[in-house]
Assembly symmetry: C2
Homo-oligomer: 311 residues x 2
């Protein structure tokens, strides 16, 4: 299937519902809203499934595209959803067309359009939208920029290739409010988040000449900072800011007396092997596990397991 | 003067010395090194003036292009230097060609090539280099990426336009090590810097419902963190992370019993007017002043002046 085939599929259907994945990120939410806008402009009835898990920031840009109560779709399109298990409840077995950029896509839909080389689903949707209407509105460009910028960590992640930069150039040319989006999604945080970061950086401990960095987030810290769910984005990334660290461990205390552990590592250390010691798993560069005990106890256990794995 | 005229000027001269500005940033240092590389590849003798103020990170990429002792230049080119006063000592009145992107350039050189619409000098130098050699080496692309990425705050600042993104696409296509540069310049910091950020976030005070945010950096904090000069980049930007703040004030204690104050504000508040109260100055959105007294005293004074200016 190419861009034209996929566009034809979309345009030969009516009453389209676009669905996002659970724990929605900027790419799934904003790509869905942008595609919805383009279909509406081409004269179709189209809505986005009201995924109530959207963050406040994403709601502000995508909420206007949520389907009204009682909308009966005749065609269901998923965007940025690699696996049926990640769909919001009730959509398994019901997706007519899946548009995605994950190479791991399980082809669960009746028809699948995957371009696994793309950094974001927004780039694929942008090309489809240019087939549908030949142009982008300022609002559409801003939505696609949200998808592209969030999935590339504002052009810092290793998936940022020449195509991602070319797409960004096209979106900014079309009027995307890139500065506002950057400020809202990457720069500004709540006072609670700043307090929490202060405590997390203060909690950091280093081992093996700084090559192992461990950050701890206790329930007491969350309470003291007054942090809410929206303040907890990518806490596991903070430990990775240390210049000498090769293994970054983030320990988050849970209510039930255990800790959720996230391990991220650079080449040469297998995060999933370290987490497997505690019954967890994941990938070589990012893995997780849950360990019983206090944060201090869990820290000792994790550092010991990391040192044993390393040597 | 267009790209071709500027290239011709460069190629009709020999023994070229490229000079950078004082307090060198990534754009001046890496643009100079990249241009030097292209001139060398075209058969010219060219070197970069050894500006000893370069940070360790920049030295790692640009140090190899520093002129050897005793090099006698016949043609001096400045890169990213808006004003003669910003040149390293000894170059006033001696610049044959100035290549720059600052609209405020004072035309101090014998010939001047300014493109004031560009976000970075690296983009201008890239175009000249493509005229000189028709291609970029991987090393040259990486150097130009350093200039472009540092001057746009890794594509977050308001100067990031479609042309900047198009240049980034071209540089990544040419092999620029963008991920390594992003990690080194934007992501990784020293343990001392993390400790210092922890203390700065902890020091923050908010006024007028969080619309005024004040960060304090004391000598004791710098000592406790073990911070060196390289750890102090853009401290004035930290206060601006608070989502509700419209005026961000950073107070840095000095050895002589006074404090250096940096004020940054959004539309509607004039930073330079606030700083003028204390004999300082600057622009509407970023200004500075020096105020006698302890950090606590200076904080009170600044908050009072800001509230008075606002109402």
């Amino acid at each position: 299937m190419n861009n034209r085939d996929c566009t034809k599929l979309l345009l030969t259907h009516e009453d389209i519902l676009i669905v996002t994945h659970r724990n929605p990120d900027g790419d799934t939410a904003a790509s869905a809203a942008a595609l919805c806008s383009a279909l509406k402009r081409s004269g179709r009835t189209a809505w986005v499934f009201p995924n109530r898990q959207l963050s406040r920031k994403l709601m502000r840009y995508c909420g206007a595209f949520f389907a009204p109560a009682g909308f009966q779709p005749k065609y269901v399109v998923s965007v940025d959803v690699a696996d049926e298990k990640l769909l919001c409840e009730g959509f398994a077995g019901k997706v007519d067309l899946c548009i995605d950029h994950h190479p791991s896509n399980t082809c669960y839909a009746a028809e699948t359009f995957v371009r696994g080389e793309r950094a974001s689903c927004a780039e694929i949707v942008m090309e489809l939208m240019l087939e549908i209407n030949a142009d982008l509105t300022k609002e559409e460009a801003t939505l696609l920029y949200i998808g592209l910028a969030t999935d590339t960590g504002c052009f810092q992640y290793s998936n940022t290739d020449a195509a991602a930069f070319r797409a960004a150039a096209e979106l900014v040319r079309a009027g995307a409010e890139n500065v506002e989006i950057n400020t809202l999604f990457f720069r500004k945080v709540s006072e609670a988040r700043l307090k929490l970061e202060s405590m997390i950086y203060n909690s950091m401990r280093f081992y093996r000449n700084g090559t192992i960095a461990v950050a701890t987030v206790t329930l007491e810290m969350l309470r003291q900072a007054g942090a809410e769910e929206d303040d907890l984005d990518d806490l596991a990334g903070l430990a990775g800011r240390c210049e000498n660290s090769r293994v970054n461990i983030t320990i988050r205390e849970k209510e039930d007396g255990s800790c959720r552990v996230s391990v991220r590592s650079f080449r040469g250390v297998d995060s999933s092997a370290i987490c497997a010691v505690f019954g967890g798993g994941g990938h070589a560069m990012a893995a997780g596990c849950t360990v019983k005990g206090s944060p201090e106890h869990v820290r000792e256990e994790l550092v010991r397991a990391t040192e044993r794995h390393w040597s």
